[in-house]
Amino acid sequence: MEDDRVLEVNTPAGPGGKATAARAARSLSLTAIPVVGIGLLILVLPLFVPTFISSLVTKMMIYGLFGLSLNLLWGYGGIPSFGHAAFFGTGGYAAGIMILKAGISNFWLNLVLALLFTAVIAAILGIPAFRVFGVGAGATNPIYFLLATIAFGELLSRMAVALRPLTGGSTGISGIPEPDLGFGFRTTASTYYYLVFVIVAVSVYLMYRIVNSHYGYALRGIHDNERRMQALGYNTWLYKYTSWILAGVFGGLAGVLFAYFGGTMVPNNLAMITSDIAFWLVIIGSTTVFFGPLLAAVLFVGIEYFASIYLPARWPLIFGAVMVATIMLMPNGVGVEVLKLWKRVTRGAA
């Protein structure tokens, strides 16, 4: 199987000279061109397409961030979670409640507080998740961990229904205004697109740095062989716990952006039905390629749009069909196939 981890390790460690230069040029064409190209495309797109399409692209970016955040935990740390929406919803609800109930209108302050709140929730949930149920070396059975992650999402969504004065009960929060960026600058639907772009781009860059850092490679090691990691001197519990919180914060960030995007937050945004989206994005996108979930988010939002037009009553069926088809035809995920294709293209050009 070819994936980006093998690709990345090919680049360094060369003793210098021509081979390294050629490799560097190759890795530049492999990564820099698509990254800059897609970035520019997203930037100029709203000038040429109707508003509803740029709104779909906004949603793609938010879901892409959501999928990447789960992949940080799952693809790199090897910790699957069926309850990632717990963080998505917590971030979104926190932002909504702070605007509507606490009157914190500044977007940046709201963002920071919502993310802090999500981190605290993740830290609290992480203790039973890793200490009681456990996943990885020494855990009795990872199924208990998975069931616990489902339970966290359902628990929070029930709480959102029950705490009606704060959360609006089962109808949720609505009427979240357009973000106020300070200095009297308020975004509109079309400028919000750029705000999401900037925040998602920065987050993707941060996550890219994290998975390629010393910390990130420790996570990959834990994924591959946790017992060996402990024998080599790594406190694997701490890595798993902190990656859970990190993934939670990025998931919460996607939730905050989503809350401002739609203006509403409902209990289902905390529950299994939203966790499934992240799950789908990672399965379809590939757990081994960094950008996989971003690709999957494009597919997801695209399918959701067309399916809801042509199959209004049964559109969720399509997702199941796509999932089954992907698992049968591309078990490594779409990301791996796209990467292979792109490598072939660049090799042909060089």
Partner: protein
């Protein structure tokens, strides 16, 4: 002062006592081999020393400190390192990354989120030295799962060396190797500096007699006898327990 000292270690798995009151002491710089038939409790005892298993009773002292309840990684930071009988590497990562991760384990900055791991020049330089010493440098970009078994075993022994341990615990280092590969491993272990104390489990008598200064025979979780290589070679009990006596083969069947 002894580097490693165990005091009446018992390990029970349900009704089965795998290790029964093992006390032993290893001086700095010693080369000790643990031998014994399958099920003698050798690997269980190793797991107690490195912290994978907590003993039912008894204590482990390392460098004069009671480490019975220390975690696996804390012991590694104190200067212990081990290899595994069943090859335990990072199969989906490259040889280079395997060694880099091993080197990073006891070094500062292992939680660093900001720097690119593969561009850490200091680590890469040490990794190169280590990989060259085990003749795996040319294979550095290969995925570990694609290596031949003998190469994986070499890497298995290189990983614990990455933390420059004071005590190296080797669990059947030559397990499953050809005689040529095995004698290569033997000479590599013999060539380790005098600062590294070695405790190893081995079935391969060429390895035991080639490396060890002291040999300990375990039988049903207890020390059956111990001595120098010559004493062990001459000992009748070792022959009976370990090689199997003619009587037990013909008599009891």
């Amino acid at each position: 002062m002894a580097l490693l000292e165990t005091n009446r270690i018992f390990v029970h798995f349900g009704g089965l006592a795998a290790v029964k009151g093992l006390s032993l002491s290893i001086e700095p710089g010693e080369r000790v081999a643990l031998i014994g038939p399958n099920g003698a409790g050798k690997t269980t005892f190793f797991n107690v020393l490195t912290g994978q298993i907590r003993p039912s009773s008894g204590s482990v002292h390392f460098k004069g400190m009671d480490i019975t309840n220390h975690s696996v990684y804390a012991r590694t930071h104190m200067g212990m390192a081990r290899s595994f009988q069943i090859t335990s590497l990072f199969p989906n990562l490259s040889v280079m990354v395997n060694v880099l991760i091993a080197l990073q384990g006891i070094r500062r900055g292992r939680y660093d989120l900001r720097r690119y791991f593969l561009k850490d020049k200091e680590l890469v330089a040490i990794a190169q030295e280590l990989l060259e010493s085990v003749a795996l440098w040319d294979l550095r970009d290969e995925k570990v799962s694609s290596l031949a078994y003998g190469q994986q075993r070499k890497l298995e022994i290189a990983l614990p060396l990455a933390s420059s341990p004071d005590l190296l615990l080797l669990d059947e280092p030559s397990c499953g190797l050809t005689p040529a590969e095995s004698s290569d491993i033997t000479s590599r272990i013999r060539d380790l500096g005098p600062k590294i104390t070695v405790l190893m489990i081995a079935h391969d008598m060429d390895l035991v007699f080639g490396v060890a200064e002291r040999v300990i025979l375990l039988h049903y979780g207890e020390i059956a006898c111990e001595g120098t290589c010559e004493e062990i070679r001459a000992n009748q009990m070792v022959k009976e327990i370990y090689m199997g006596s003619r009587k037990s083969v013909t008599g009891t069947w």
